[in-house]
Symmetry: C5
Subunit: 353 residues, 5 copies
Amino acid sequence: MGRTKNIKKSLGQAPGTIVYTGTKENTELFIDVFDYDKQFFEEKELDVIEDTFKYIDSAPITWININGLNHVDAIAKIGEYCRLHPLILEDIANTHQRPKLDEYEDYLFVVLKMLHYGSEEQLHIEHVSFVLGNGFVLSFQEADGDVFDPVRNRLRNTKGRIRANGADYLLYALMDAVVDNYFTLIEKVGDKIEALEDSLFENGSADDITYEIQHFKKEILKIRRAVSPLREVVSRIEKSDHKFISEKTQLYLRDLYDHIIQVSENIDIYREMIWGLMDIYLTTISNKMNEVMKVLTIIASIFIPLTFLAGIYGMNFENMPELRFRYGYFVLWGIMVTIFVGLIYYFKRKKWL
Amino acid sequence: MGRTKNIKKSLGQAPGTIVYTGTKENTELFIDVFDYDKQFFEEKELDVIEDTFKYIDSAPITWININGLNHVDAIAKIGEYCRLHPLILEDIANTHQRPKLDEYEDYLFVVLKMLHYGSEEQLHIEHVSFVLGNGFVLSFQEADGDVFDPVRNRLRNTKGRIRANGADYLLYALMDAVVDNYFTLIEKVGDKIEALEDSLFENGSADDITYEIQHFKKEILKIRRAVSPLREVVSRIEKSDHKFISEKTQLYLRDLYDHIIQVSENIDIYREMIWGLMDIYLTTISNKMNEVMKVLTIIASIFIPLTFLAGIYGMNFENMPELRFRYGYFVLWGIMVTIFVGLIYYFKRKKWL
Amino acid sequence: MGRTKNIKKSLGQAPGTIVYTGTKENTELFIDVFDYDKQFFEEKELDVIEDTFKYIDSAPITWININGLNHVDAIAKIGEYCRLHPLILEDIANTHQRPKLDEYEDYLFVVLKMLHYGSEEQLHIEHVSFVLGNGFVLSFQEADGDVFDPVRNRLRNTKGRIRANGADYLLYALMDAVVDNYFTLIEKVGDKIEALEDSLFENGSADDITYEIQHFKKEILKIRRAVSPLREVVSRIEKSDHKFISEKTQLYLRDLYDHIIQVSENIDIYREMIWGLMDIYLTTISNKMNEVMKVLTIIASIFIPLTFLAGIYGMNFENMPELRFRYGYFVLWGIMVTIFVGLIYYFKRKKWL
Amino acid sequence: MGRTKNIKKSLGQAPGTIVYTGTKENTELFIDVFDYDKQFFEEKELDVIEDTFKYIDSAPITWININGLNHVDAIAKIGEYCRLHPLILEDIANTHQRPKLDEYEDYLFVVLKMLHYGSEEQLHIEHVSFVLGNGFVLSFQEADGDVFDPVRNRLRNTKGRIRANGADYLLYALMDAVVDNYFTLIEKVGDKIEALEDSLFENGSADDITYEIQHFKKEILKIRRAVSPLREVVSRIEKSDHKFISEKTQLYLRDLYDHIIQVSENIDIYREMIWGLMDIYLTTISNKMNEVMKVLTIIASIFIPLTFLAGIYGMNFENMPELRFRYGYFVLWGIMVTIFVGLIYYFKRKKWL
Amino acid sequence: MGRTKNIKKSLGQAPGTIVYTGTKENTELFIDVFDYDKQFFEEKELDVIEDTFKYIDSAPITWININGLNHVDAIAKIGEYCRLHPLILEDIANTHQRPKLDEYEDYLFVVLKMLHYGSEEQLHIEHVSFVLGNGFVLSFQEADGDVFDPVRNRLRNTKGRIRANGADYLLYALMDAVVDNYFTLIEKVGDKIEALEDSLFENGSADDITYEIQHFKKEILKIRRAVSPLREVVSRIEKSDHKFISEKTQLYLRDLYDHIIQVSENIDIYREMIWGLMDIYLTTISNKMNEVMKVLTIIASIFIPLTFLAGIYGMNFENMPELRFRYGYFVLWGIMVTIFVGLIYYFKRKKWL
């Protein structure tokens, strides 16, 4: 879970109050705008939220990407301009909101989670939300750095299919970019789990392996929580008869749905593998203890009887005839070696050696 | 479970008999009334249940909050005045009733559970029920002390959205306050589980850890039992076409539903974590036993053979040539040290040291 | 499970053959009749099944309770008189029949299980079936002794709601009495499980604890098997549009459904607790073994090296200078005490002591 | 599973090819025919498949029972005569086909599994298929020996309900006979599991208990695989509006469905019990190891220190004052007995003795 | 999982881009064409994709089988000719695509997985996709070597049912060939698991058994992932009212669906068996440790007390009367033998020997 402090910072606030619940409180507001249709293309970076309004109204398709959820006033302004419901605005800023779809008459609202591993191999979850309106898409991100560059490049390219399609296709392309990124992530998780598994089979001595397994469990749970609600979201958009979703785009959404199922299946398989690892680890521990016990048993079983024999002839009875035999000492050695060899053979046959 | 004495005190009673099944039998009756609309606002504290009737009938929206479920006669009176079904009245006083929604033609009846940690870190579950009638909301609580203060403050504030909406919005706001509180609770549970987990990884010596894990299991089960029926309750209100639920409020209820799902997901994750803790603990025990066994095995494996050797030369055979060698004793010491060092090296290589 | 001999005594019989499959083969036939409406009330005990027929036909509502399923001829006679389907009659006498509802045009047939603990703390399951016809309810029980006394008392009371309602309400009241009794049972089970749990945490030495846990598992499975089909039964009656079920009674059936869900939830929680107990027990065993191992290791690790030292100076080499040192013996004691104290300190630091 | 060789012998064959996939390749063809209605009754044994055709066409109801699935040509001939679909014929001979229902316009096709324990307590699964046509039922079995004798006897009896009903009732009666037999089987399984459980609790020394548990697990899985698809089959026939299924028979099918549910429930309970047995066995092993460890620890903890003391006074230092004390030896014995008694007391208090 | 590198090579590509994601990058393009109807039959091998176009348009039914998904240009060309949707073409080349069905107005698109064991007992998963158009079927495979030879032989045979049916039947026949092959695979898996189980019960010493169990778990997961989506695929084709699927073929598809269920059930059973193996293995380890402990305990418990006795009489007290007894030594031997025999008897009675 990581420390889940601030699950809902807005506790006690009236519903619809816009409160940023993330940790990147000092992010600067950063807006970039793509205005395009089949022929036309314009790309701009803006600082002031009000400057985006004219693009929204203009005829070509517009994508406005806003970084910096801490700037709740900017969110409020564009929300007001587009007449978004207060609850939508709350959810845009509420980074704890799970993936969801809200259908309103004049727009669709989609919440996703962007997942990536940070520099220290730590899983980062970024809150992304989209508003699909009449001829425009708004996207809201917590901070700079996203997975939308392939989409940007395809937009810049006149011949791309994306330029020939509507805003609904743009929304699809952005969601597809997010899901595509899940595959990279999943692959990384898979590699790590297999590395852990290999290390378990090879030396079986990973000291903090319980810790790592528990850590992976949590990571898989986190990823699953981010991915699994998406199935319903995409399935609902695909089946929705909302006026903004064209039949053509629905085919692509169906494909996206397929990809999400594929990610989910992989997550489930990794889950089973991690659970299996714990079992393997327990077996490994038991096997090691068995080995330790065998060493102890072999040593003790051989030398305790021999020591007993030596003890016998260390006694000080006055009348101990063997002590006076000429080769008594050597005969005893012979007996001891015989016992020793016999026990070794016995343990060999028991496969303990 | 805690001691579940008195699961249903009314056993054998005719259905519809009002019996208080909780433990706070000496609570005083305490009634507070909010009467408001966009312009008008009045807040009153009353002692006599009959005094509330005029507010119910008056035009503005009325919220009557009644503390003290042990005052079954008061419940009966207001129930009769509002023509509530006897089964409803039974459920208001029956603190074992699970969360539910009952739709009647002239009112909606909702049962919730308020959860909070008491002073001794013990989970308390409070039974709360709401009746939404024509322009009024009745709320019934076991005792003083609730989570509705944010709602009260918003009511006192002329500009709040709550003042501009109907009684259905008030019902939503009260339910939202209850659910908001779940987040605080869940966060606390999460912190405690993680603290337990950390202590398990760090020293691994929590003596009563099995007890604590079992305790958390029960607590999670209790919370889940209080929260999970809520999903259906809210979903059904949202989809209901009851005359008292406006379309506008349904949007808010959808949002509330989202929050409940979020709480449920968190509960499920904590559940998995606690179950995982038991596994980790078992592994920890096994690892410790391994360590103990290793110490025993190393000590025994080194000294038992050496003792045997010493035993040999403690024998009293008359004919033991070694005993008479000049440096026999020192040679034996040499052999012993060699065995000692060899075994140490062997155990080092086996990674037991 | 108990010995499930005679799961279906009627094997090989034609369907519809009435065969009593229980064990109380010598029960005497015992019939009691309640004939009532708002004003009128009569209570009778009869010996001959034919005497009940006139009550069935008479105008007031009639409840005929028949004890003694072994009297298959009586069942056949009343079945013929009421024109019940042969399969119904088979199910009345077949004590292995699970709870169910059969809707026929002219009557409803309900099978329930009455659960109670016998004198030797053994779970008893009694087969009860009801036929709701036009203005009458037939109830069939294996033997004397049931949970319907509260209903009988309410019937005797002129003012009770039950007197003002129809036969469908009577059926509800009887089913409610059965379900009410589940709460008592569940509470008892809960108490026993918690007692077991406490004894596990306190001394952890319950010798036959595995046996008790397995015993509880079976008991819970039995109870669940008796209770869980009831959910569907009651839900189906409540939603049924059968001519004999009035809308008013449906409200009460909804309430009954709620109670059954509550019982089911409690059963599920107890189930999880019992499963958890097994885990706790395993951990307890492992912890004890750890403790045993520690004692062994401490004793052996301290005295084996010391014994070795003693063994050294018990050797009979002619040339062992230490033996001739004046204070050799005392110096050796000093060394031994040092080793002893050092090891004690070492084990203290390892928290083994 | 048993050796699942030949899961599908017809691999690579065109669909609809009739291939017998069982092991009883040398069974002789055996046909018996029952031709009956309320008044008329004829029972015949035939050798040639063509002789059955006239019965099929004749007015009274006909049951043709064919033993010997290896006679694929006979199956083909009667299939052609009754115009059965090639896939049906394939499924009749394919003993690996799971239970199913196929509805065609002119007939119903049902596949069941007959289960019984052989002489060596081994579970046998027999493939049975039924075709319900217009006024006739065909049944196909692998070999002689079935569970239909009660049905045959009822057919021979003029007064039986079966004679007064149509071919659909006959199909029901045959299926009921198969399901009735499941009860006998289930009872046997239950007895065996309880015997295993008892032996586990009593001496806990069943050497091959793991093997037996795994064996039961497989047996239960096999039975479940044979029984559980039947639920859907019967439920679908009951709800089917096929022209050959009368409303009257549907009531009986509902009853049959009930019985299958009952069998399924019992299977599930036995399953849980077997899984529980494995846990109990593990606990038993751990408990035994604990006991072994205790014996070792007690013996070692008592005698190792005493041996040390004896070792001390076996040393050969010249200056060891105690050795010369008059009662040194006896004092030492006193000390040793004290230590011995003290340790025994210590272990008694620890409940190890 | 195997190394899941390249889960989705096309990451960042526009949707609909054809990218081969498999590993057989150097496969040569290989096309074989079957053109047939009831009378006519032609079989050809082609090198150039454009040569296939005339067959597609020609009247008889055409099956074009294309090996070599790395030739994305050929896929693009035939896709363009048949007007396939770009997403279809992407999925044909994307070997990570899970089994699915896409229905378009003018064609059906089906993705399957062909499973077989390679020479080194390694599971291979081959990606196969089918396009059913108006009178033709296209099949796309990664490389040479498939399971379609039985279908080819039946096509070459004038009298086969396949020649008398349409392209939909051909699609069915190809899918059936793939599923038939699953049976072979499943049988092999079953044999391997049972071999592992037997080896576990017999010697219980498989060193890398944990590794093998984990390996099987993964293999079963892989197979399940390939097979289980097929259920929905076939069920949807069967229920589809697509113009290309005739009612006659639907009967065969229903049969195919049955087979897939059968495969799924077998997979589930093998899964449970593998999970069970891990439990058995753990029990085996525990049992072995028990055995080791017993040997140690018996040896130590017998000889430690005896050694103590020997130690006693090895002491050098001046006043030890026993030492001077004439038969002291022999009496002591008697005592020792008695102790020895007594302990052996004790361990025999405890069933440790």
